[in-house]
Each structure stands twice: as structure tokens, then as C-alpha cells.
């Protein structure tokens, strides 16, 4: 890190600014603080909504786009700065990392080896051959082996985990990959919704933000919708029996459930909501002796021509005190304005109009369902998942994978045959110490050696 700070001072000030960890910290803190706004202030409401905060705050909200904080120009700017910071900092570090990666670790003096914290020295019997010890070391220590002559002897190096220097690049790069994935989704994707009655089909969805229809390129048909409940009445499962039809052929026939979306041609369909659609049967007895049984489907105007009555369903509740209830609108030729009346199944209601008195009863209800689907195309999502995977992999490498080096020198000193083993690791030093111990235990001439 020290060497890096020194590098900094020599370079161009713009690059120095954009590559600094200080900027990263500033941006992280600023993002943390400003992100709070959108969690406190309701987001994406119509502008008038924000007038309740008073004219001054309203002006601020409007100017800074606080009604949609996370898509506002300044928040996006912070994110872009963050990305630039990452890119510049990464490139700036590249030479340092390359130097570390390419460094010749055999280029070391005997003296330096002897001063390492993890170090062992033994006197070898006269008759033992270098080759025997070296081949044993290679086998036990493993990793990448290199060797060269050094100061009346021979130096062998076993290296492991040199690649771990790239962990930080994987980690920081992963954030950029996630950004890229999000960008692809924003630019090339869409999100819409579809409502289908049982038996209905459609080949387009309604875009969420604009309300415009978007063609899907295939047809979705809802064959049936079913609901199930737990014993205590909590909903347990929503199922839409869907057919996906492409060029007149059913290509998928599947049950769509919450948490189990269906994907076809890059478009994913989610079970989002449902609505119970009633069809009620009512009996009307008029005071003039006429009576009639009428079938009233939802969303329709039903007439009883002899009595000049028209009616329809305004609202419907599947269960009020355990029985279904429907609110009807009612119009007739009495000259009075239309009225609304609630009917509970099994209870007769009286409706008094100036020319007639009607006895109304709700005899029967049959429900059908309208399923609410969400339709989404996001060609960037796989990039986001790759980025997430890289983030975790990078994190594990940065903190747990270490570059470890173990040197073995064999040579003559003061007329004795001597072997020295020394090592370092850039992370996880405690574990390395144990590994070093294990390796030296396994080497026949080191196991009894002095520290």
C-alpha cells in the first residue's frame, strides 16, 4: 500500500483522484446516507402527492427528483462515479499486481531466508545426496516447483496460490458485471402485466409504467385457475393452468405457481395475483305480481324488459359472515336515480321504488377466476447472477486464498552439509505456520530439526 501511495503522488491528479480509496470511501458513505431518502419518502407517487410536505420541500423534492430517488440524475451520477472509481483504481493497480505476479521468487539471498520468521535449519549426515532431499521436498511440499544454484548450494522453491493476487480484480470486476447486467435489463427489457379470465387468451401484455400494450410474440391462454387454503384460512397455493401457444401449436402446458415462473422465448411469466369473478343468480318478486330469476355475470348489464329494470354487479365479496355478498346497481323507469343495494345470500332484501316494491334475494353464486400474471423480459439477469457469483468467489479468494512460498536451500557452510527451509504466506499466517510444521514433519531430515 505504501508503494501505491508513492505511485499516486507521481501521476496525473485526475487519475490520482479517481483511483483513490478515499473517493471510494466518500462514495460509499454518500451512497449509504442518500439511499435513506428513498426509504423514508414514499417513491414514485404522482407529483401532487408531494405537495403535502409544503411548498419549499416540494420544490426540493421536484428539483432533486426525490420522488424517484434511485433513478434521479444525481444518484445515477454517484453510481457512475463509483464505477469509474472502480475501473480507474483497477487499472492503476494492474502494474503492481503484475509485478507481484511475475516476480522471480528464486531471486533471494541466503541471508534473507535465514531471517524469515518461519524458518528451520538442520545439519545433514555427510552421506546423504542433495537429489534425494530435493525430490522428497518436491513431493511433500507440492505446488509449482522451481530451482536454481545459490551460494555453494541449491535453492528449490515451492509456490502455491500465486493466482490469488487476481482475487481482488474478480471481486471489483464483479460489481461492474452486475452494473452491466442491470444496464442491459433497463435498456433491452420490459415488465408488463396480463389479466386473463379462465378460458381467455392474449398475445400481448400491458407495460407497467406506460400502460402501452407490448406484443409477446406468442399467446398465453389461461385454462383454469385454482386456489387452495390452509385450515386456518390462509392462502396456500395459487395455480394457473396455462398454455403457451406459438404459431397455433401448444408449446408449453404447465401449472404456473408463485415462486415457480415459466419462461418461454426469453420472456418469463409469474403468478402475481388473482381476482374472483362472480356470476350470481337472483330472484326478484315485484309488488305487481311479476317475478323473475336472473343470471347476472360480472361486468355486464342485465335487463328485465317487462319491468324496465336494468342491473349489474358493482362489488362482490366471497364471504361476509360466511356467505357470499354482492352489491348491485339498479335502474328502472320510476324516475328515481339508480341505487346500489347489498345482497347477502339467503337473506331477502326489500327495494322500495316509487312505482313498485321489489323483494330481492341472492340465490346462488358461481365463481370463476381471473388470474393476474406478471410478464418480464430481462436479458441482463444472467449477467447479474454471474456478477454475484464472481463477487462471492472474489471475496473468498481475497480473504482466504493465500500465496504461499516455501524455500529449501541445501549447501555447505563451515564444512557441514546444511539444509534450510523457510516460508511465508501473504494471508492466513496461522494456518501457514501449521502447514509448514506438517511439511517439515514429513521430511525425513527435518522432523527432528532444531528451530
Amino acid at each position: 500500500m505504501v508503494t501505491q501511495e508513492q505511485n499516486h503522488s507521481k501521476s496525473n491528479p485526475v487519475i490520482r483522484f479517481f483511483s483513490s480509496v478515499r473517493l471510494a470511501i466518500f462514495l460509499l458513505i454518500t451512497l449509504a446516507i442518500t439511499s435513506i431518502i428513498g426509504t423514508v419518502l414514499p417513491q414514485q407517487e404522482p407529483l401532487q402527492f408531494y405537495e403535502r410536505y409544503g411548498p419549499n420541500i416540494f420544490k426540493i423534492i421536484k428539483a432533486l427528483h426525490l420522488y424517484d430517488t434511485y433513478h434521479s440524475w444525481w444518484y445515477v451520477t454517484l453510481l457512475v462515479l463509483f464505477a469509474i472509481n472502480l475501473v480507474v483504481c483497477t487499472f492503476k493497480r494492474l502494474p503492481t499486481t503484475l509485478r507481484l505476479y511475475k516476480r522471480d521468487n528464486l531471486d533471494i539471498s541466503l541471508d534473507k531466508l535465514k531471517h524469515m520468521r518461519i524458518f528451520k535449519q538442520v545439519v545433514l549426515p555427510k552421506n546423504v545426496s542433495y537429489e534425494q532431499i530435493i525430490s522428497e521436498f518436491k513431493e511433500v511440499a507440492g505446488g509449482n516447483i522451481s530451482e536454481k544454484p545459490l551460494e555453494n548450494g541449491k535453492l528449490v522453491l515451492s509456490e502455491k496460490g500465486k493466482w490469488s493476487y487476481w482475487g481482488l480484480y474478480i471481486l471489483h470486476g464483479s460489481i461492474l458485471v452486475i452494473f452491466a447486467g442491470a444496464l442491459v435489463g433497463i435498456l433491452l427489457g420490459f415488465k408488463g402485466s396480463v389479466s386473463l379470465l379462465e378460458g381467455e387468451a392474449t398475445n400481448h401484455c400491458i407495460q407497467e409504467v406506460t400502460g402501452k400494450p407490448i406484443p409477446l410474440g406468442f399467446t398465453i391462454k389461461c385454462n383454469k385457475f385454482t386456489l387452495s387454503y390452509y385450515r386456518n384460512g390462509t392462502p396456500k397455493d395459487y395455480r394457473s393452468d396455462l398454455s403457451i401457444i406459438d404459431h397455433g401449436k401448444v408449446v408449453i402446458h404447465k401449472i404456473l405457481r408463485v415462486n415457480h415462473p415459466i419462461t418461454y422465448k426469453g420472456i418469463t411469466i409469474y403468478q402475481a395475483s388473482y381476482q374472483a369473478i362472480p356470476r350470481i343468480t337472483i330472484k326478484i318478486v315485484a309488488s305487481d305480481g311479476q317475478q323473475k330469476i336472473l343470471q347476472v355475470p360480472a361486468f355486464e348489464r342485465i335487463t328485465w324488459p317487462q319491468e324496465h329494470v336494468a342491473l349489474g354487479i358493482m362489488r362482490y365479496l366471497p364471504s361476509v359472515h360466511g356467505v357470499p355478498a354482492a352489491q348491485l346497481w339498479w335502474a328502472d323507469d320510476s324516475g328515481q336515480p339508480p341505487v346500489a343495494i347489498w345482497l347477502l345470500q339467503g337473506e331477502q332484501r326489500e327495494l322500495r321504488r316509487s312505482n313498485n316494491i321489489y323483494q330481492l334475494s341472492l340465490i346462488n353464486v358461481t365463481e370463476s377466476y381471473m388470474t393476474g400474471l406478471e410478464v418480464k423480459k430481462d436479458p441482463g439477469v444472467w449477467l447479474v447472477w454471474i456478477g454475484c457469483g464472481l463477487l462471492l468467489a472474489g471475496f473468498l479468494i481475497v480473504f482466504w486464498a493465500s500465496h504461499r512460498r516455501i524455500w529449501l536451500w541445501i549447501g555447505e557452510e563451515n564444512g557441514k552439509k546444511i539444509a534450510i527451509m523457510a516460508g511465508t504466506a501473504n494471508k492466513n499466517k496461522l494456518r501457514f505456520e501449521r502447514d509448514f510444521e506438517t511439511i517439515s514433519e514429513k521430511l525425513s531430515y527435518f522432523s527432528g530439526g532444531e528451530k
Partner: protein, 283 residues
């Protein structure tokens, strides 16, 4: 009376409370034996709680719901206490220092006591509405809480650090019994790394779940955003090590702020702000 898991968990609360008091007494009176008792009591509480959690899982099968005990506020608080104790016990075992217990067990005690005795927290086993029936959600809750528990311990370490560094003679008396500043700093850093990893996994599994449940991996809902805020704070703490001057004390303060953010992510968002995550609300 029929004994069910929530009764065992209420009893566990008292066991943890006793453990916290024992650890604090051990710290203040420097009595070695109290420390050993504190550890024993904590382990007993932990085993009781582990049993209770397993039993609760079994109970949910008996009710016909069949889900892991991680589905509502009550269960997640209890799980938080369980993980905090587990993380602490690992640290105690690895550092052989019991004093940290005086600063870690109170967090667990508080969480489980709040779950057990606050009347607004319902301890009933509830069935899962369709949106919550997902293994990704299970992974999300487990990993987030591993993160939160580590941050709780890191916050305890930060408080110890600040107490010790503020004291005029840190090597004497009550503050003298605390581990060295260097050790506290190292442990704090390691716990933050551990927590940050799990929080990252938690945010990612949460996005995967959201993407499967309603087709959007990120929708800036308050809970998501607050978990991101928490993530930013700890990312700051990790990077701060590389800027000169940001050592011990400032990291300790960040660690405390970070944990406040964790608490807000958890309670503040549920009680003060609205969003997708209001548990148990029908979707």
C-alpha cells in the same frame, strides 16, 4: 399444560440472561470460576435452544404446514439469538477469551427476550403464504442472520475497544481485563469480514428469491435498500483499513453505526416504513 417450543424458548431466555450476568460478573470481579460457569450456562442454553428450534420444526409438520422455523418476526429473532450465541462460542473457543461474552451474550438475550415477552410479537406457528414458500427465502433468512449475528458480535467488540481506548489507564482495573486493543481490532476486522460475506450472500439469495417470486431482483423496497445501506457501511469499514489513520477507533465507530443500521433494517423498516417484507402480510 402442553409444553411447546415457545415455552422452551422462554426458558432459554432466562438461561441466556443468567449467562450474560455471569459473563459480566466474571469481567468485573475477575473470578475465573464465574467464567467457567458462564460458558457452561451458555452452552446449556444453546443446546436447549437448538432442541427447541428442532422441535418447533417438527411441530409445524404436525400442524400440516411443514416449514423451517424462520418464517416470521418471532422466529427470526429467536434464530438471530441462536446464531449470535453460536458465533460467540466459536470466538470464545478460538481466542480462549471469555470477556467478549460480556459484550456478546446481551445481544442474544435481548433479541430472544424481545421475541418471547413483547406481546406484539406473535409466537404462533403460521403457515406460509405462497410467496414465502421458497428454499431461496430460507437460504436468504439464514445467511442474512448469520451476517447480522456477526455484526452484533463485531459491535460488542467495538464497544470493548472504545471502553478500553477511552480509559485513562487501559491496562488496569476493569479495562485491564479486556483483551488488548490490537487483538480487539483484529477480531473486529475478522468478524466484519465474516459478516460481510454472509450479508452479501444474504442480499444475493434475497434477490434470487424476489426474482423468482415477482420477477424483479431489485426493486428498491425499503428493506432491500436498508440492507444495501448496511452493506455500504461495512464495505466502508473494509476499505478504511487501507487509508492511513483509519484504524481501531474509527473502525469501531463504523462497526457500531453498521449494527445500528442492521437493527434499523430489521425493526425500523418493519415498524416505521412500509414495504414488501412486512412478514406474514398476505401478498
Amino acid at each position: 399444560m402442553n409444553i411447546d417450543s415457545s415455552h422452551i424458548l422462554s426458558i432459554t431466555t432466562f438461561v441466556y440472561m443468567a449467562a450474560a450476568i455471569l459473563y459480566i460478573s466474571y469481567w468485573v470481579f475477575k473470578a475465573k470460576r464465574l467464567g467457567i460457569v458462564a460458558t457452561t450456562v451458555t452452552i446449556i442454553g444453546f443446546l436447549m435452544q437448538t432442541f427447541a428450534l428442532g422441535y418447533r420444526w417438527y411441530e409445524s409438520y404436525k400442524l400440516g404446514y411443514g416449514h423451517a422455523p424462520l418464517s416470521n418476526l418471532y422466529e427470526s429473532l429467536v434464530f438471530f439469538a441462536w446464531v449470535t450465541i453460536a458465533v460467540y462460542l466459536v470466538i470464545e473457543w478460538r481466542t480462549k477469551s471469555r470477556i467478549i461474552g460480556a459484550f456478546a451474550t446481551p445481544f442474544a438475550t435481548f433479541a430472544i427476550a424481545y421475541a418471547s415477552f413483547n406481546p406484539s410479537v406473535d409466537s404462533q406457528i403460521e403457515p406460509l403464504v405462497p410467496a414465502l414458500q421458497s428454499n431461496w427465502l430460507l437460504a436468504h433468512v439464514i445467511t442474512c442472520f448469520l451476517g447480522y449475528a456477526s455484526f452484533a458480535v463485531a459491535c460488542g467488540l467495538a464497544i470493548m475497544y472504545l471502553i478500553k481506548s477511552k480509559s485513562p489507564n487501559p491496562e488496569e482495573g476493569v479495562t485491564g481485563a479486556l483483551p488488548s486493543l490490537k487483538m480487539l481490532d483484529d477480531l473486529m476486522h475478522q468478524t466484519i469480514i465474516f459478516g460481510f460475506l454472509w450479508l452479501s450472500v444474504g442480499i444475493i439469495t434475497g434477490s434470487i428469491w424476489a426474482n423468482r417470486a415477482w420477477g424483479s431482483y431489485w426493486s428498491w423496497d425499503p428493506k432491500e435498500t436498508w440492507s444495501l445501506i448496511t452493506w455500504f457501511i461495512y464495505a466502508t469499514a473494509l476499505h478504511a483499513r487501507f487509508v492511513k489513520g483509519w484504524r481501531g477507533k474509527r473502525i469501531a465507530i463504523l462497526s457500531i453505526i453498521g449494527f445500528c443500521s442492521v437493527i434499523f433494517t430489521y425493526f425500523g423498516v418493519n415498524y416505521l416504513l412500509a414495504g414488501l417484507h412486512s412478514y406474514a402480510a398476505p401478498q
